[in-house]
């Protein structure tokens, strides 16, 4: 399959002289892919997503969208093809859910243009796809966390982009909403053909809906490939310093990860600083 989005050996630092947050990372998103990006806090997942969405430019390396370099496309042209669901959405003013979703039409509208019937239909479809049609006229700040997240996903869908990048979409949600969001994402990928990259801390979510994983630590890629190959106890340990059992349900092929205990850091063992 052809690559839709390709980060080619990208590195990034937030300021000159600051440490590299992303260090020589290559990621390929084929059309229809559903890639999970895993890694501990501060591993560079969010920054990698920003590079992939073009809201930040890599300090070195390049990001290709199809044949074009992302840094040569305008924000507007990029936003028509890549939509982003940020980790948190905090409004400075009060908007209704439908207003938030309609904002997704921004890259498709001219400077003085107003959303027409076509745009409204797309926004309503996006609300329907995320199961939030009944929330359309509710003030965004009054709905629950899971509902907010779904409305924000609807706003990204309204961009009519072929790529969707999600930054920890289930991080602050309870079990039920986690399940709702993950089945929504899975459905969008299967039924609507949306190509996705999802950064997450939830290994089981990643195992259940993603087909490929990219494991990041300290800004570098530790391992990447199909879930079944990459999601191993060794890699989980290398990623999080946690010993984990990885179970494969032989009937469904579902993988589950159960953390067991903290792995003893290597240097402590070798130095013999702690006697056990």
């Amino acid at each position: 399959m052809r690559d839709l989005l390709w980060a080619d050996n990208v590195s990034f630092r937030y300021a000159p002289g600051a440490p590299l947050v992303v260090d020589g990372v290559s990621v390929r998103l084929a059309a229809g892919a559903l890639v999970g990006i895993l890694g501990p806090n501060g591993s560079g997942k969010t920054t990698l997503l920003r590079l992939l969405s073009g809201t930040r430019r890599p300090s070195s390396g390049r990001v290709l969208l199809g044949e074009r370099r992302l840094d040569q496309l305008s924000r507007r042209d990029t936003a028509r093809q890549i939509a982003v669901v940020p980790q948190e959405t905090e409004l400075a003013f009060e908007y209704r859910a439908i207003e938030i979703v309609l904002m997704g039409r921004h890259p498709h509208l001219g400077v003085f243009a107003v959303e027409g019937p076509g745009d409204i239909r797309i926004a309503e479809d996006a609300l329907a796809a995320t199961g939030t049609s009944h929330l359309a006229d509710r003030p965004f700040h009054e709905i629950s966390g899971g509902e907010k997240q779904r409305v924000v996903i609807a706003a990204a869908l309204a961009q009519s982009a072929q790529l969707l990048l999600l930054d920890e979409p289930t991080a602050s949600l309870d079990l039920r909403y986690q399940l709702e969001i993950s089945s929504l994402l899975s459905r969008l990928n299967h039924d609507h053909g949306v190509t996705m990259a999802i950064s997450t801390h939830d290994l089981n979510l990643a195992a259940s809906i993603c087909r490929e994983l990219v494991m990041m630590r300290d800004g570098r890629v530790l391992a990447a490939g199909p879930v079944a190959e990459v999601l191993t106890p060794e890699n989980v340990k290398a990623l999080y310093d946690v010993e984990a059992d990885v179970h494969v349900n032989s009937a469904t092929g579902h993988m589950t990860v159960v953390p067991v205990r903290l792995a003893t850091p290597k240097r402590v063992r070798e130095g013999g600083l702690i006697s056990r």
Partner: protein, 333 residues
Amino acid sequence: MSIRRRILTVVAAFAVFAIAVMLWAPTVGSTSISLTRALDRSIPWESNVDAQIFFVARLPRVLAGALVGATLAAAGVVLQALLRNPLATPFTLGVSAGASLGAMLAVTMQLELSLLGITSIPLASFAGSLVATGIVYALASSQRRGLSTNVLLLAGVTLNSFFSALILFVQYLADFAEALRAIRWMMGGLDVADYFPILAALPFIVVAFAVFAMLPRTLNLLSVGAESAAAKGVDIVSAQRLAFVSASLATGAAVSLGGPIGFIGIIVPHLVRLMVGSDHRIVLPASALFGAAFLVLCDLAARTLMSPLEIPVGVVTALIGGPFFLWLLVKRS
């Protein structure tokens, strides 16, 4: 109702209100006049006292109030969205303090310069506002990536108190009459003698409003967050620059015309949001129109309540605005 219809209907309603206020206000005063008689062109100008009072004595002041009110309210809307802070005002970023320092210096140094017929105080205050804007802009854009809204806020607040200290210092050195004149200017006043000062401020305000007209959807996205706005196709850096520079320019021009009249830039946008929601395509034009009407009404109160004594209009807006602002703060928390 389609979105376009709703925007047009609401804005038209605000426009009707603003125009009605602007036609009514000049008829009220020490001598009541009749609007129909003032606008009756069959009566010769020389013998139409109502028309003379309306067009010569009172309309310039009403227009000045409308222009200043519209500008401060619209600039408030733009800065609140830019800074993602509902409590920002057009003066938060130091523009008015710069303008006041300029005016103060013009008074105490007895500058007698004038440019194209504009006198030294408005000239110096406009120059002061440009200097303040330039300093804040340079500080906030010293970082590599666009304007930092945090640095903008901190730089503005710091500059405000720094300039206030300079103003007090200059005031301390000035003689009594000069100091009083400068303080009187800082209370705000719309007592323009003719149309000329309005025409002088107008070009800057027109340019700024032309920029404002391109911003509303971008302001909606900015109020949802810079990162998410960027992902939805907003060029954050140029949007922030356009918003900051146009709002500061407009504020500088308005302050040079009417003095630093407080609270318009915060009360009006909040009242309008309570009435029509947060879509900036409505909030921005509606605030400009409501701001115009609001300041004209405040000025009407200022010149009639204790007639023949005139209350400075800045005192009237602050007397209404102060308690309102506190109520808003309490309600928010």
